[in-house]
């Protein structure tokens, strides 16, 4: 016998089943179906659509072909671009800037803080396409706000998306996503009991010593959590496509955009699945680390 609950076991199963059905269909099935699809030459049209052939590891061999894979527009090149993008915009950009803002306004409730937080949040929640256009206008070589401002300081106009495409999307994505890290770090900092810092102040620790010896150790798991989550999200983000379309000449073609081009524009499902499998395995690795960290934190 059991604790009496409002829900009997058959009832709770009935409550869960719609969710289970949708999750099975749209998360679990896709995960396993791409594995089998990645060993075929399936496509949307043509002979391969009606009668897909088993091609073994051909798709993977193709992706990892050392002679061509670092060519622009190929898998390895895209992976390298994505790595730089994640490193620059997530790890340095969002996490670094988020931490800077959280520390800068630690225990402050003034107008400057309010303005910075509100703007960062607006940048984060405004729909993708609007942000894409906002930056398109901002970076416009002739009329864009950025060049207009720089011209005041005598800097000549640049075509940012043509001359510095990867740097542009890195700054773009930093701007877009910093709010999450900022809010996460802020709430973690606020949850630290003031007495820890007060004790260290009484002892006579400098600001730097307070950060290094008190705040940083207490923020470690939050930082790890943040880094993994934003890595995962940045690795999969498609938003830069709205600014550059992956160009010029594939210079901003992130893994997500590459997958889109192969699997969903050219409809090479077999090869697209092989890319998707690789991406998902990388995701799985990142997510496992995240869950591992959050579980150990819980048991601590």
């Amino acid at each position: 016998m059991q604790r009496r609950t409002t829900l009997s076991r058959p009832m709770s199963l009935a409550f869960i089943s719609p969710a289970f059905l949708l999750v099975a269909l749209f998360l679990i099935y896709p995960f396993f179906s791409i594995f089998s699809m990645s060993f075929t030459n399936q496509a949307l049209t043509g002979a391969a659509a009606r009668n897909p052939q088993y091609v073994g590891l051909d798709n993977y061999a193709n992706l990892f072909d050392v002679d061509t894979w670092m060519t622009r527009g190929e898998f390895g090149s895209s992976l390298w671009i994505t790595t730089q993008f994640v490193f620059g915009s997530a790890l340095i950009g969002q996490a670094g800037l988020g931490m800077l803002i959280a520390l800068l306004f630690f225990r402050r409730r003034d107008l400057v803080r309010h303005v910075v937080y509100t703007l960062a949040i607006v940048a984060w929640i405004t729909p993708d396409v609007v942000i894409g256009f906002a930056w398109f206008a901002f970076l416009d070589p002739t009329q864009g706000t950025l060049n207009n401002i720089l011209s005041i300081f005598g800097v000549p106009a640049q075509d940012w998306l043509l001359q510095y495409p990867l740097l542009s999307v890195i700054v773009f994505n930093t701007w877009r996503g910093t709010a999450f890290s900022m809010l996460l770090f802020t709430s973690a900092l606020n949850s630290i009991s003031p007495s820890y810092l007060e004790t260290s102040q009484v002892i006579g620790a400098s600001r730097w010593q307070q950060f290094r010896d008190i705040l940083f150790p207490m923020l470690q798991t939050t930082i790890a959590t943040d880094l993994i989550l934003i890595t995962l999200w940045t690795f999969n983000t498609f938003t830069p496509y709205l600014l550059t379309g992956g160009g010029p000449s594939y210079q901003t073609e992130l893994m997500s955009i590459y997958t889109y081009r192969i699997g969903l524009q050219r409809f090479e499902f077999g090869r697209g699945s092989a890319v998707a499998v690789t991406v998902m395995l990388i995701n799985l690795l990142l997510a496992s680390i995240y869950l591992f960290i959050s579980r150990t934190r819980k048991t601590r």
Binding site: M1, Q2, R3, R4
Partner: protein, 354 residues
Amino acid sequence: MASINLTQLRRHFGAVKAVDDISLAVDDGQFVALLGPSGCGKTTTLRMIAGLELPDAGTIQIGAKQVTALPPRDRDIAMVFQDYALYPHMTVAENVGYPLKVRGTASSEIRQRVQDVAKQLQIGHLLERRPAQLSGGQQQRVALARAVIHKAQVTLYDEPLSNLDTKLRLEARAFLKHLQREVGVTSIYVTHDQAEAMALADVIVVMNEGKILQVGSPKSIFQTPQNTFVAGFIGSPPMNLLECTIDGSVLRFTDGSRLPWQHALPTTARGTVTFGIRPEHVTIRPIDEPGTLPATLYVTQMLGGESLVVTHVGEQLVSVRLFTDEVPELPTRIGLAFDPARVFFYGADGNRLT
């Protein structure tokens, strides 16, 4: 109103024997306190009587009716929860009237009875507020009102005063006793506070580790604790319990000191026993007075109308309660004298020797 009978009631959570084959008879109109430390099984017992938890074995009878497996609503009971469980989205009046509403009572009658109960519990001015706008003491009264409104046969209390601060708790305790005298319904009251149980209950049931250790009136539980657990749990401070060895007509304590014992010993007492005496039945004597136990003064505490002197006998502490508001000047070494009529002996199994 109804009597309650628990027979061989059992509830295990995995390896934890939360309630281990207990039997208990509660008379019609009695107020019974289930008393014990946390994890002793008192709350689980209460929840089984309520029907919120189902027993692994045993039966529960309320009045003439077997209710062991019945859902709570078929048991005609009321319950006050530790966190009060006042619905945050309802006003006080709606909260109090809810048990009538679910029974399909006419809304005009609900309104009337809510008014009556609110008056009785002195919460009439709060009826239109929400629980979040009430103080802890007010919330507690609203929870009480909801429990008495539908005149159930049995009222169950799950540590209803434990979320109040000390002053409010004493007030609420007096109020509850007063209410109980007016309403007179059969009640089971779970608490870990022995003073609360003593003050409120007709009968106290002391529980530990899923077992009932002693059942009796507050007076009998206090005056003749049947085992070392009850002796050490009841009273503030509780009974002094000292290990000693019986050597003819001498008690030898662990520090080697000897106490000649001219008085009668329980017939079964031999070897190592536990010597029990309440702090109020110990007196302080000069160290060299014959028939006393030598002790070392540890600390004295002034407690208002009385004082507590804590002494060492070897490694063991002995408290002495003095009914004086003057802390006496005492030498370091003193003798302790015991009122022989108030001394209990407990055997190796913890049970009282007679």
